[in-house]
């Protein structure tokens, strides 16, 4: 790992100022960034830790009933504190990695990183959440721009993520047991005005919405409504853990399981 300066501001404003320096990078829980630095795949001149910013911590329920999670909130805290207000999202957070990873890794880091096999992107896109940054609010539909790529600008930080709470929701993760990420993960959320289905782990374009399934489930919310629907394997990830066809098949299976779990 190359060396870097370390800063730990206590306000969002100070963090944004520190990130204004060229080659400065935000540090969330470091669960992705530290391994990346060890491999010398990145060489920031300074790391700006977001872990000391009180206004970016914790889970709270807003006046309109939506659940807002501070951008620097660790997965373990979401698993615990969102269990009452948004149980499906809390369950997703509680399935990330292992207990030690969940004590450090944060929602902001996970969403900013947009790993194609990460869990949070499915929960965020599946819920139709809003990503709040230091400068603007971005709808989940406009945020994820393909594998490891997002709408975030240089130096922009995720200060919170706001989730509308569906009537029912479930995240079904088919575990890739070596990495602990999702081989395929599907988040189904049923709202009064329709159903959203977001898929992670499967596509070469990162997290995506399965619109045919959404339409079918919005008409009739039963696993059987998905009969005959399938995903085109062409854009699926194929690797030693699973072929394109296998992942395409798993998407349908995990979607059915998520629907069944909602009922």
């Amino acid at each position: 790992m190359y060396n870097f300066e370390f800063e730990k501001p206590s306000t969002i404003a100070d963090a944004v100022a520190a990130l204004g320096d060229e080659d400065a990078q935000a540090l969330g829980g470091g669960q992705t960034l530290i391994p990346t630095l060890k491999q010398r795949l990145a060489s920031p001149s300074a790391l700006v830790s977001l872990s000391g910013i009180a206004e970016m911590q914790g889970v709270c329920v807003e006046d309109d009933g939506s659940v807002a999670i501070g951008g620097a909130t660790p997965h373990a805290v979401v698993a615990r504190e969102a269990a009452g207000s948004y149980p499906a999202l809390a369950a997703l957070a509680g399935q990330i990695g292992d207990p030690a990873v969940r004590n450090r890794g944060t929602i902001g880091g996970s969403v900013a990183n947009n790993d194609p096999a990460a869990c949070y992107p499915a929960g965020v896109l599946g819920s139709g959440a809003t990503i709040v940054t230091n400068t603007r609010q971005i709808a989940a539909d406009d945020f994820f721009e393909g594998m490891f790529s997002t709408a975030l600008e240089e130096g922009e930080i995720i200060t919170s993520v706001r989730f509308p709470v569906p009537q029912a929701a479930s995240y079904q993760k088919f575990l890739q047991p070596a990495s602990r990420f999702a081989l395929v993960g599907v988040y189904v959320a049923r709202f009064a005005d329709g159903v959203r289905v977001a898929v992670t782990g499967a596509s070469e374009d990162g997290v995506f919405r399965w619109s045919e399934a959404e339409q079918a489930l919005s008409k009739e919310f039963r696993a059987d409504a998905l009969m005959g629907l399938s995903i085109n394997p062409m854009n699926m990830i194929g690797d030693l853990h699973g072929s394109k066809d296998y992942r395409a098949h798993l998407v349908a299976v995990m979607t059915k399981r998520a629907v069944a779990a909602c009922l």
Binding site: Y2, E5, V101, R104, R180
Partner: protein, 161 residues
């Protein structure tokens, strides 16, 4: 260099570290607390698990500067000052929960974190909690048995494997 101060196993310590110094490196190289093992250095194996403010973390995947001001617990703080083993350590010995012992510090620290959150876990809960702790020797069976025993549950009906 940055000065960091923290409490390690109840004792105040401080030292000058670089930004890139890992907590595992600070414990092992600066404080000579080599009980915290570095097995993979890639956040996979859990041999380096310590407690930071009461929660289990992989110390190879946390910067020492991030632990400034924290309460850190390592395997060296588990036994009593006279060297007598705590309940979890004794159960690992009684139930052959270790062979080479390399993974053991991380296993014991994870087990301690688990039992603090969940004092009487089921076998499935123990296995689930240890997902981030790899052991190349034991096949896990006796580790799980030791942790169940340490939680005060009867393990006489669980066959040794």
């Amino acid at each position: 260099m940055t000065q960091v101060s923290m409490t390690v196993n109840g004792k105040s310590v401080s030292g000058d570290v670089e930004g890139r110094t890992l907590l595992s490196g600070f414990l092992r190289d600066h404080l000579s607390l080599t009980g915290t093992h570095v097995g993979c250095d890639t956040a996979q194996c859990g041999a380096c698990v310590v407690h930071v403010n009461g929660g289990a973390v992989k110390s190879c995947n946390m910067l020492a500067v991030e632990a400034d001001g924290a309460e850190v617990g390592t395997i060296e703080g588990q036994a009593a000052t006279d060297g007598s083993l705590n309940t979890i350590q004794q159960a690992f010995q009684d139930h052959h929960g270790l062979q080479c012992g390399f993974c053991t510090p991380g296993m014991v620290m994870s087990a301690a974190a688990l039992l603090k959150e969940n004092p009487r876990p089921t076998e499935a809960e123990v296995r689930k909690y240890l997902e981030g702790n790899l052991c190349r020797c034991t096949g896990y069976h006796n580790i799980v048995k030791a942790i169940l025993a340490a939680s005060g549950q009867d393990v006489s009906s669980i066959a040794a494997e």
